[in-house]
Symmetry: C2
Subunit: 110 residues, 2 copies
């Protein structure tokens, strides 16, 4: 991981900021999912409801696996997506260098 | 379906008994699943819990799809499995001919 981060131009301090922000966004995403899951489960009353809930969880898992891809080479795009989806604020990425922040901000508005 | 049932040696009256018993067992299976789903969802508190619940639903769906196979050619085996699993009583299959009932009873004890 260290080697990869250095190659991709991330300092040790930036790696720490990135990891913390990434985990925070993941926690938020999963908290929302848990709330939805509890509410939908509570309302389940037919076989169709069960299978619809299963399909929903399958789709969410696939989406989350794709969205939370912690590789330094793609992390700028990942963070832009998380900001766009409201899972992170730009201010929570403070500590990254200005170039990366500017890229993330620009990409998040696309 | 009519053609298939006749070929497999099921009378119209037996088809009606079979359909009712099959639906009853399915309803029982799904009711148990719904109870488990609600209880497990209520206790979910981490990402791991969510993915474990999703895995559980995937496995259950696969199991139920395999168990509830309404084809007259295999229905004796299906009913034997449902009796064995406690989802049907032999008495709920009354109306089938004695040969089929004897086979189902024997297979359900294997």
């Amino acid at each position: 991981m260290i080697v990869e981060s250095v190659e991709a131009g991330w300092t040790k301090a930036e790696c720490a900021v990135a990891k913390e922000a990434f985990d925070l966004a993941y926690e938020r995403e999963v908290l929302t999912l848990i709330t939805t899951l509890k509410s939908r489960s509570h309302a389940v009353s037919s076989p169709e409801d069960v299978w619809n809930l299963h399909d929903f969880l399958s789709a969410k898992r696939h989406e989350i696996d794709g969205k939370f891809d912690f590789r330094y080479s793609s992390l700028v795009f990942v963070f832009a997506g998380l900001v766009k989806d409201g899972l992170l604020k730009l201010s929570e990425l403070e500590g990254l260098d200005k170039d990366k922040l500017a890229k993330i901000a620009a990409l998040s508005r696309m």
